[in-house]
């Protein structure tokens, strides 16, 4: 076989990876050679080569937009490559659609699950893999097969449960089961832990190890370096559409990977001094909030944030954090409770609650910037003043002084290093990180007493994360009170001076980021508070408010 000789092997031409890629072709489950893909002007995949050995967990890391998902979608047949070759078990195939990929034993677990919410687990597993026009026999066979898979890989689910009723972790299991039911030998997982609790993530990793040990090949796409180190055997790094390197995981470290991803040295830990908390700026007392369906999502929550400190709220998405944020910032009416700013109760009710909150000195960076923080069809400078457009600085009466607004926008673009530096560009054309900087600049430059930030770095690249974290800490050091809500536990741990854990609408515990272990926090996030530990924690949390 020609690929036995290093010279004929495209990856082996890079000296660092010769060791990783010296495998005989027969050891390779997947081989990609010279893959190119363009979306209009964007060259999403540039001449990509990749070799994945059978029976390994192979990680692919890279920033957003590095081309990881595009590459895997090509392998899965969701997109077709403009050029290049795909070899499965040594044989070249032109994979035309997902059905073809499935037939070759390639299954994919998408980042956003491809499940039908009001179907049962069984129906979802069967969908597209039915044996005949009648449903009955297919469902019977799938039920038996699920039992077998559950035994073999310890993937237990209740086949009759409806998807929208089960946890996100279970939904992910269903995605894995779907792929296995279709006979997948190669399993691609796209950012699988983004929505999981640490415990669920551990469980997923246990399943993945079992699968690998049984001879399956796993390709794991992620931007979390910790996961790469924890579970993969090999790791490939992508940057700006190109494959940078492939390394043996045991021979690398997170710092090296981060540098390869970004192309420069990156600080993974936030550097900050100890907090010097002052007066209480924000106090939330016995807050109760209902969602649109009338379900109580925030249940009697009390806490305070003091000047010069960052309080982080950790928790798995959907445990009431969104409603809490929306309520404090005046976007959602509270059922009962009081929110005080420097001791003065805020009137947050009604449609203009958010406006009054901002006037009073409470700025808010919403967790979903594209839906709530920006109008992406607007130009950058318009978004840069949105919510403050009646400020006299932007004009008198009904006349808008666009020259002044644009001048200010240009200034902020410079200060916050927003790229591209063009205030007349449509906001939709900025990357996620730069959009976040637009919102942050708008809210921070008003110099508020209290800053509330939801998911500060969701969908933001490593390089921009560093900048955003530093801005938040700068604000803290200027004596402001900052509340950060994030589902990224790592982010909360490195940014916050004090951690509150939210579960099922309640603050179930408080922790010191310097001493709390990830395990302890993970248990609290999952609602597991053993009685000895939980009782004092809850008292402490409530004691904060009184």
């Amino acid at each position: 076989m020609s690929s036995d000789t290093p010279m004929g092997d495209p990856i082996a031409q890079r000296p660092q990876v010769a060791a990783a890629s010296s495998a005989a072709a027969s050891d390779l489950a997947i081989e990609l050679i010279g893959i190119n893909k363009r979306f209009g002007a964007v060259h999403a995949n540039k001449d990509i080569d990749l070799q994945v050995r059978r029976g390994t967990v192979h990680g692919i890391v890279g920033e957003n937009g590095a081309g990881k998902s595009t590459l895997m979608s090509i392998l899965y047949g969701f997109y077709t490559a403009d050029s290049g070759e795909i070899r499965v078990n040594g044989t070249p195939h032109a994979i035309t659609d997902s059905r073809h990929a499935l037939a070759l034993g390639i299954g994919m677990v998408h980042q956003h699950f491809m499940l039908v919410d009001n179907f049962s687990i069984l129906e979802n597993v069967v969908l597209g893999a039915e044996d005949s026009a009648m449903l009955g026999p297919s469902l019977d066979r799938a039920r038996k097969e699920l039992t077998r898979l559950a035994k073999e890989y310890r993937l237990d689910v209740n086949p009759d449960a409806i998807i929208e009723d089960v946890s996100v972790g279970t939904q992910q299991r269903v995605e894995i089961l779907k792929a296995l039911y279709r006979g997948a030998d190669v399993l691609i997982l796209d950012e699988p832990t983004g929505v999981l609790t640490p415990a669920e993530a551990d469980d997923l990793f246990r399943v993945l190890r079992t699968l690998r040990d049984q001879g399956k090949t796993i390709i794991l796409i992620t931007h979390k370096l910790r996961e790469i180190m924890a579970i993969t055997d090999y790791v490939s790094v992508m940057r700006q559409g190109a494959m940078v390197d492939t390394l043996k995981t045991s021979e690398t470290n997170p710092e090296q990977l981060a540098e390869l991803m970004v192309g420069r040295r990156v600080l993974l830990r936030v550097e900050k001094t100890a907090a010097k908390p002052g007066d209480t700026f924000l106090s939330v007392e016995n807050l109760v909030v209902k969602d649109d369906l009338g379900v109580t999502r925030v249940k009697d929550v009390s806490f305070t944030v003091r000047a010069g400190e960052i309080v982080g709220i950790a928790g798995v998405a959907g445990n009431g954090q969104s409603e809490l944020l929306e309520s404090i910032s005046g976007m959602r009416d509270q059922t009962s409770g009081i929110v005080r700013l420097k001791g003065t109760p805020l009137s947050l009710e009604g449609d203009d609650g958010a406006h009054r909150a901002r006037k009073a000195g409470l700025a808010h960076v919403p967790e979903d910037r594209q839906r709530m923080g920006l109008i992406t069809a607007f130009e950058e400078w318009e978004n840069a003043m949105l919510g403050y457009e009646d400020d006299p600085a932007y004009g008198k009466g009904i006349i808008l002084d666009s020259a002044a607004a644009q001048a200010e926008a240009r200034e902020r673009i410079k200060k916050f290093d927003i790229r591209p530096a063009n205030e007349r560009l449509k906001t939709a054309n900025f990357s996620g990180g730069n959009q976040q900087k637009i919102v942050l600049a708008r809210e921070m430059e008003r110099n508020p007493d209290v800053l509330i930030v939801g998911q500060p770095t969701r969908g933001v690249d490593i390089g921009a994360i560093e900048f955003i974290h530093n801005q938040i800490i700068k604000m803290r050091d200027a004596g402001k009170a900052i509340l950060v809500v994030s589902v990224e536990l790592d982010e909360i741990r490195s940014l916050a001076d004090r951690i509150l854990v939210m579960f099922d609408g309640q603050i179930v515990g408080e922790a010191d980021p310097a001493t709390a272990t990830e395990g302890e926090l993970g248990l609290m996030m999952a609602g597991v508070t053993d009685k000895k530990a939980a009782a004092p924690a809850r008292v402490a949390a409530q004691g904060q408010g009184s």
Binding site: F39, D97, H100, H110, A129, A133, G136
Partner: protein, 321 residues
């Protein structure tokens, strides 16, 4: 009230709910697949005209029905091309069909038959006749059960029976077949269907063509079963009431049947109440005729609760981000 009066009102109910039910089930297929269809009315009207025109010329009811079906299915295909392949706005595609049908039927009617848009009176062989079920006459004398059988169940035209048979068939297709599973899935999450390796476009076309078929039956009912010829705008908004019934029934076949029966009953009641006086006061005909529509509004506004339709409904599927 005597049984005879009740039975004849219920008999009228069955008749009046038939086109509603066919149109409602038609809409169910399309909307369950994620294609909103407000063009039910237009497809029915087009079918009613085509069926009457062909039946009038050939004096053959079956050729009339075939013509109605062909026109309705073609129209549905046209609407599908706009809404699925060209990814046009589904509501506007439906509105276009309605306007096209209203204008074209009148225009062609005047051009071809010169009777102000009406088609000529159909001969007996050009209409569906009522079918007497076996033993209907013999059992008519048996109190209650016999009367119900002979007066209520027997003696309808074939389209009435087809409409009510279509309910269990639709249920079975939807919940017991591979096609039904995929149809329901594509209206909820087309991406899940696509990634499972099934063509979203093909599934939606299949659904839309079934919609065309059922609308064709509903339209033919107006002109060559219930009536004996086509009259201007003879569907009179029934397509929209069927749509209301579909929402009221939360896109499920059996509730759809009961909802259509309810609307049909209101219509039958309206006819029965015309010319009667309530508490000695004569009620204007127009007020009574408006009754079903008023009740429709009340039911939809007040009793329906939150109707959550198929999640992906109304949105054309685009594969690339």
């Amino acid at each position: 009230m005597d049984l005879g009066l009740v039975l004849s009102t219920l008999d009228a109910t069955l008749r009046l709910s038939t086109p509603l039910l066919l149109a409602c089930l038609a809409g169910l297929y399309s909307e369950r697949a994620g294609v909103f269809d407000i063009g039910l009315e237009g497809k029915m009207l087009a079918s009613a005209f085509a069926a009457a025109a062909v039946a009038a010329v050939t004096a053959n009811v079956w050729l009339g029905l075939l013509a109605g079906l062909a026109v309705s299915i073609t129209t549905a295909g046209l609407q599908g091309a706009a809404a699925i392949t060209l990814r046009g706005n589904q509501l506007i595609a439906g509105v276009a069909i309605n306007m096209l049908a209203a204008g074209l039927t009148t225009f062609l009617g005047i051009q071809w038959f010169g009777q102000g848009g009406r088609t000529p009176q159909l001969p007996v062989s050009g209409r569906f006749q009522n079918i007497d079920l076996p033993f209907a006459n013999e059992l008519a004398g048996v109190p209650v059960v016999g009367q119900i059988y002979s007066e209520l169940i027997s003696g309808h035209n074939i389209l009435v029976y087809i409409a009510f048979l279509a309910v269990p068939i639709t249920w079975w297709v939807l919940y017991r077949t591979r096609f039904g599973l995929r149809l329901r899935a594509v209206g909820e999450n087309p991406k899940a269907v696509d990634t499972a390796g099934i063509s979203v476009t093909r599934l939606r076309y299949q659904a839309v063509l079934i919609t065309g078929f059922l609308c064709g039956l509903a339209g033919a009912f107006f002109s060559i079963a219930q009536g004996s010829g086509f009259g201007n705008n003879m569907t009179a908004g029934k397509g929209f009431i069927a749509l209301a019934a579909l929402i009221f029934a939360k896109w499920k076949p059996v509730p759809a049947m009961f909802t259509c029966l309810l609307f049909g009953f209101l219509d039958a009641l309206q006819i029965r109440l015309q010319g009667t006086s309530i508490f000695g006061v004569g009620v204007p005909v127009q007020a009574i005729q408006a009754l079903p529509y008023i009740l429709t509004v009340i039911l939809l506004a007040g009793f329906i609760g939150k109707a959550v339709g198929p999640k992906a409904g109304g949105v054309a599927y685009t594969k690339e981000r």
